[in-house]
Assembly symmetry: C2
Homo-oligomer: 224 residues x 2
């Protein structure tokens, strides 16, 4: 198909497709003349992955390229693709400062409790510890102890993740599943958590749920 | 304290503090002269909440103001603060297009299975359905069935969330806990999921974990 047809099939505008080509996120099409190239279904699918990484995953173009390079590199062992995807995603939010020794120790206590064994540079270790620091800084240290129940839930989720990855027919498909599942899995879990919170909240306080009777706007406390 | 001392105590620069004041995220200090105002510990704490919402939660200034207005409005029932926080956070990522009827039905099946009862406008419903659509669009419909295990995990997390909220001494503290817990809870869960994924992955494939032997850079497939 031509670039205009690729645009229609993928819902991505031609200027954006050209940007992804320039940034090496999308492989070039097969040249049919000096100014034209032919694209196929693999380009449509790749555009969906790119948009998922950038728009749902919130990755930078450089981080998305790292992940896509890993997906395209069939020689890379699966665990390593996992690591690259994890780093790309964590890098966007959680890897600027270091966490306190106290919070790192609290995270380590969770690993001991759950008998989890991971390498020291797993990005989740610093990520979790930094959030615990924020709970303290906000004056809500009692939120820190949520981590024990969260870890139980994370174990359930990770086992489901790996079960699906293990059923893929080849390494490329496994790698793509890791990327899509890691990026989009956070979003679907967050959505389900919102649903569960409302359910549990109304179970505990069985009044009519206020979302259905919310005022048109929030009372305005601003002075001007 | 003066604005310079507030800056030191909070780690936020004076121009940024002035921006938050102009945007009504931070309440004015007590005026001591035409050009000076006095701030207190409540301002330090509020600055931490603002930064958590903007930097960790990824909220827009307008969405952060909605959440902060809700926290400051002690008359608002707790469930309603929950709803406002949920909408602010979901709005930043997941509320542009509508999801397919098929994905909405799949999410509804999860609610039936778990006996969850929520209002139709819970933002998690559309959010979850939209991610299921993305799984299909990416050519990985098998990821959709992850939702059943994810829902079990979300139930565990939500019960822990509500238990902590219920222990707060007053409505303002409850509201602040909901906000901090909702925004930061997603981040801590995602971090723990990364840790659990590596553990489960190495449990299933007990080779030395490749993160510890990763090459210095990813092989470059780019042409130019």
């Amino acid at each position: 198909m031509r670039i205009s047809e690729l645009s229609t099939a993928s819902g991505v505008t031609i200027p954006t497709i050209k940007f992804y080509l320039r940034e090496n996120l999308l492989p070039s099409g097969e040249a049919t003349s000096a100014n034209q190239a032919r694209y196929d279904e693999s380009h449509v699918k790749r555009l969906t992955l790119i948009r998922a990484l950038l728009e749902i995953g919130g990755l930078s173009v450089a981080a998305a390229r790292d992940v896509i390079d890993a997906v395209d590199n069939a020689d890379l062992p699966l665990n390593q693709v996992f690591g690259i995807a994890q780093r790309a995603i964590s890098g966007s939010n959680l890897s600027t400062n270091s966490a306190s020794a106290e919070s790192r120790a609290r995270v380590a206590s969770v690993l001991t409790e759950r008998k989890w064994h991971v390498t020291d540079d797993n990005p989740g270790l610093a990520g979790a510890a930094k959030v615990l620091d924020r709970f303290s800084a906000l004056g809500h240290p009692e939120l820190i102890d949520l981590i024990d129940d969260y870890a139980l839930a994370a174990d359930i989720v990770a086992r489901a993740d790996l079960r699906v990855v293990g059923k893929q027919p080849n390494v490329a498909a496994m790698a793509e599943t890791v990327v899509a599942g890691t990026v989009l899995g956070d979003a679907v879990f967050a959505a389900l958590r919102r649903i569960a919170q409302e359910h549990v909240s109304s179970e505990m306080h069985p009044a009519p749920h206020p979302l259905s009777q919310a005022p048109a706007s929030i009372p305005d406390r601003r002075k001007s």
